[in-house]
């Protein structure tokens, strides 16, 4: 490896803005999930750079991954994608036999490396396409779980859940009802939820929308619960929007099956032991006493000003912590009946096996 190339490469790689690429990708394609967008952004970054060695590639990737992770408040779901891509790169680069017997990548002439890189780029795009297609596959698996005459409880604005319910609605043989838990705020999450509700209603599926507080009340009428996930962790639990955990607890206490739909690229190498063991800093719990009241509005306004935070602006004393819109919680595996992925329906304990298969 000559020392000159990296310095020569640096200017173009620095100018490439991975964060804005990632944001653009997410904005341009509403169907894109975070991990896939991250992988696509990384492939893009790789295509823009002119790295010529394996070590450099990995370094570049590492740097981009870190900037990307630092730029968003909750990188769990994103890290699923970046980790997967990194792992894939390492295995392809260190086992070049799959590329037609290149003996040693590190010592090979630059032509060989270029071949590998092109292979990586094309494969990366293939991966993105496959990831997008997986949603339909999950929908086709999952629709069999919705029985005729069933009432399904779901929450949030998961696109996979939306796709699944839509597929089930389109098949004329299944008649089912949906109870949709909607958060009162106007986040993108609930907007997507409303979209799904409208779609389902257009397909003649009766949908009831309820607030979070009415979950336990309506559970008696529910036959099954289906939720989406931001990340599926190693022990088979899921990280999902705030409120999923209590949904799971309630469903378990009433003996209702609780299914998770998630693409397998959302599997994260993470093992949280409890709600507070997540690698992100959430300020849901913010203890205050009366003296703080005067400062509160001043303190909070600039901090949360960017997001549409009704909670703080209208009724400052209602919730002291972060709003529940972007927050996530962890649902432990013992509450989950099954995880529906594009590679089949897994029990929570099978997730770790899948992850071990990828990583070793």
């Amino acid at each position: 490896m000559d020392l000159e190339t990296p310095t020569a490469e640096h200017p173009p790689t620095q100018s490439f803005d991975i964060v804005s690429t990632y944001r653009d990708l997410l904005a341009s394609d509403p169907d894109l999930t975070m991990p896939v967008a991250a992988i696509e952004a990384l492939v893009e970054a790789l295509a823009h750079s002119t790295v010529s060695t394996v070590a450099e590639t990995l370094q570049l990737l590492e740097r981009h991954t870190n900037t990307l992770k630092a730029s968003i408040p909750n990188p769990i779901s994103l890290s699923a994608g970046t980790d997967l891509f990194q792992r894939y790169l390492i295995t392809t680069l260190t086992r070049p036999s799959s590329l037609g017997g290149l003996a040693s990548v590190h010592l090979g002439p630059s032509d060989d490396f270029r071949a590998i890189r092109n292979h990586l780029l094309s494969n990366g795009r293939l991966f993105v396409e496959r990831a997008k297609a997986s949603r339909d596959k999950i929908a086709s698996f999952g629709k069999h779980f919705v029985r005729d005459g069933a009432t399904v409880l779901t929450n949030g604005g998961s696109r996979v859940v939306g796709a699944l319910l839509r597929t089930a609605a389109e098949s004329s043989t299944i008649r089912f009802r949906v109870i949709y838990v909607l958060s009162p705020s106007t986040s993108s999450d609930s907007r997507e939820g409303l979209q799904t509700v409208a779609d389902l209603r257009a397909h003649n599926v009766p949908v009831a929308t309820i607030p979070d507080a009415a979950v336990a009340y309506s559970l008696g009428k529910v036959d099954m619960v289906i939720v989406g996930a931001e990340g599926v962790v190693e022990n088979g639990g899921i990280i999902s929007r705030m409120g999923t955990y209590q949904l799971g607890l309630l469903a378990k206490s009433k003996g209702k099956p609780f299914y998770v739909v998630a693409e397998s690229h959302k599997f994260v190498r993470l093992y949280p032991l409890s709600q507070f063991d997540l690698p992100i800093d959430q300020k849901m719990l913010d203890f205050k006493v009366a003296e703080d009241k005067n400062f509160e509005s001043k303190d909070k306004a600039p901090e949360d000003g960017t997001t549409a935070d009704l909670c703080f602006e209208n009724v400052p004393s209602k919730c002291s912590g972060q709003s529940a819109d972007d927050a996530v919680d962890f649902t432990p595996p013992d509450l989950i009946s099954g995880i529906i992925t594009e590679s089949g329906v897994l029990t929570p304990s099978a997730v770790s096996e899948e992850l071990i298969k990828i990583w070793f």
Binding site: N235, Y271, D277, I356
Partner: protein, 516 residues
């Protein structure tokens, strides 16, 4: 019952040997201070009892047994019949069944419960066997099947092939000087290194064929007679035998030996040293500021993890829960406190209080079973159940070399029993002495009688008497099992060198680690 007494009357020497055998070990128990003085006392005690004639008899019988084994049909012919005519006849059929498949069982499954008494060639004396019968009868209850092998606490009767390093190690095992699954495995491999170094292939055989079956097996059998092999030792032995067998016969002996030694070093480095490092690193990250970590007994890897987190500047405290009779946690608590950690130490009787204050539970393992259950020091299950009840995360730290393909449903079928008299420490026995007048007459009379018949010195108030009372009381049994099985539901996470897993993934990793 009548048969037992008859046996005693007819054969007093057997009784004596039994006691002589038990003594050194009862005294060399845990408490470090006591340990030094006692063995000598035991030696002097035993010396008159084991006359020269006795020794000679022993050796003869041993030779006979070895010859019988060499014939091949050894265990299956000589083993069961003698057992069946004894009073422990109800155990007979089962043991016979075991004996039908000798080779496979002995080599691939080092579980104590599965072994036949006749398998090891060490004390195959008839006398020894009769003692066992008596014991089984007395110690029956649920754990009767575990008493089928007498524990060896001396090197008397060891095969002449056993290497001195292994002889020493065996004694260290039986006296718990070397204790803990990892330590036992590593020390065994190191002893085997010495064995291999001094090994010379006899003319007419090849190293690959001779070393395992003829030279290594006696060593293993001796170690097993000192204390049943741990799962990790079984795994290591299987691995070692495998690489020995795979040695190319054309390799020169010196070269082959050198390869073997470096392979063993590598094995220890990879499966223990590096694995421990990785596990400690992962596990230490799980310790957060302000945590209270509860641990049970003592595990080297837990200690390493706690110290690592402490050295990284995390402020947390530790609760060490411990139990009789090994008191392994004492040393752990002292070590941690010496390193500046805040430590609370209590016995398992106070475990329910301990879990109330704790925030996480870290446990070491003897083995992880394929159904995700944890096989560890007796009491672990209790602690983890309590922790689970308080919804504390229970984290097991375990190297993958301790994984086994076997499953365990309860702690009765497979377990290790230690001599029950270890349960009463020297000082506790002394405390019990004043209770003598309250004993039923029959017991005291018999004990006294025996004292006299032994030509005994009238040392009436010796703490040993307490043990005799227990042995002589027909309805009292003392049981000391060493392990128990924790159901997988009570375990939240297993940290191995492959990363963190739910207990259900143990078989996957086991397959992975044995294939490589």
């Amino acid at each position: 019952m009548s048969k037992t007494t008859e046996g005693e009357a007819v054969q007093p020497p057997a009784e004596k040997i039994a006691e002589g055998d038990l003594k050194p070990q009862t005294e060399s128990k845990v408490e470090a201070g006591v340990e030094d003085k006692k063995p000598q006392a035991a030696e002097t005690d035993r010396a008159p009892k084991l006359s020269a004639a006795e020794l000679k008899k022993r050796k003869q019988a041993e030779k006979q047994a070895r010859r019988a084994q060499a014939k091949g049909a050894g265990p299956s012919t000589s083993g069961p019949p003698t057992q069946q005519k004894g009073p422990a006849a109800r155990d007979g059929p089962k043991q016979q069944k075991d004996a039908k498949q000798p080779a496979k069982e002995g080599q691939s499954r080092p579980l104590p419960a599965r072994r036949r008494p006749s398998q090891s060639e060490v004390p195959v004396l008839e006398k020894a066997k009769k003692e066992v019968k008596k014991e089984t009868k007395q110690q029956g209850l649920f754990f009767g099947h575990l008493y089928n092998q007498p524990r060896q606490h001396s090197m008397v009767g060891a095969s002449k092939d056993v290497h001195p390093a292994v002889l020493a190690l065996g004694l260290q095992y039986s006296s718990y000087v070397v204790c803990g699954s990892t330590a036992r495995m590593v020390s065994m491999l190191l002893a085997f290194k010495a064995v291999i170094e001094t090994y010379q292939t006899p003319v007419g055989t090849s190293l690959a064929r001779h070393l395992t079956s003829h030279h290594l097996s006696p060593q293993i059998d001796y170690l097993r007679s000192c204390r049943p092999l741990s799962i990790s030792m079984g795994n290591a032995i299987r691995w070692l035998k495998d690489i020995i067998i795979k040695i190319d016969p054309s390799t020169p002996e010196a070269q082959a030996k050198r390869d073997l030694l470096s392979e063993i070093d590598n094995f220890i480095l990879q499966r223990i040293t590096a694995a421990d490092e990785l596990i400690a690193e992962t596990a230490a990250k799980k310790i957060e500021e302000g945590d209270v970590i509860l641990t049970y007994a003592s595990s080297s890897i837990v200690e390493k993890t706690l110290l690592r987190a402490h050295n990284a500047g995390v402020k947390f405290s530790v609760i060490v829960v411990d139990s009789k009779p090994l008191f392994e946690g004492k040393r752990l608590a002292r070590d941690l406190a010496n390193h500046g950690l805040k430590v609370k130490y209590l016995l398992i009787t106070g475990a329910s209080h301990a879990v109330r204050d704790a925030s996480k539970v870290f446990l070491g393992a003897h083995a992880m079973m394929s159904n995700g259950r944890l096989y560890s020091r007796v009491g672990t299950a209790l602690v983890s159940m309590l922790a689970n009840d308080h919804s504390l995360p229970v984290i097991v730290l375990c190297e993958s070399v301790k994984f086994t393909e076997r499953v365990a449903l309860d702690s009765i079928v497979g377990n290790e029993v230690a001599p029950a008299d270890e349960l009463l420490s020297e000082s506790e026995r002394k405390d019990l002495l004043p209770l003598k007048p309250f004993l039923p007459k029959s017991v005291t009379a018999r004990a006294d009688e025996k004292d006299k018949s032994e030509g005994g010195e009238e040392a009436k108030d010796s703490p040993e008497d307490v043990l005799k009372w227990i042995v002589d009381s027909p309805n009292l049994q003392m049981l000391q099992v060493l392990y128990d099985v924790t159901p997988a539901e009570y375990i939240n996470m297993v940290i191995t060198e492959y990363g963190s897993l739910p207990p259900s993934s143990v078989p996957v990793v086991h397959r992975l680690s044995t294939n490589i």
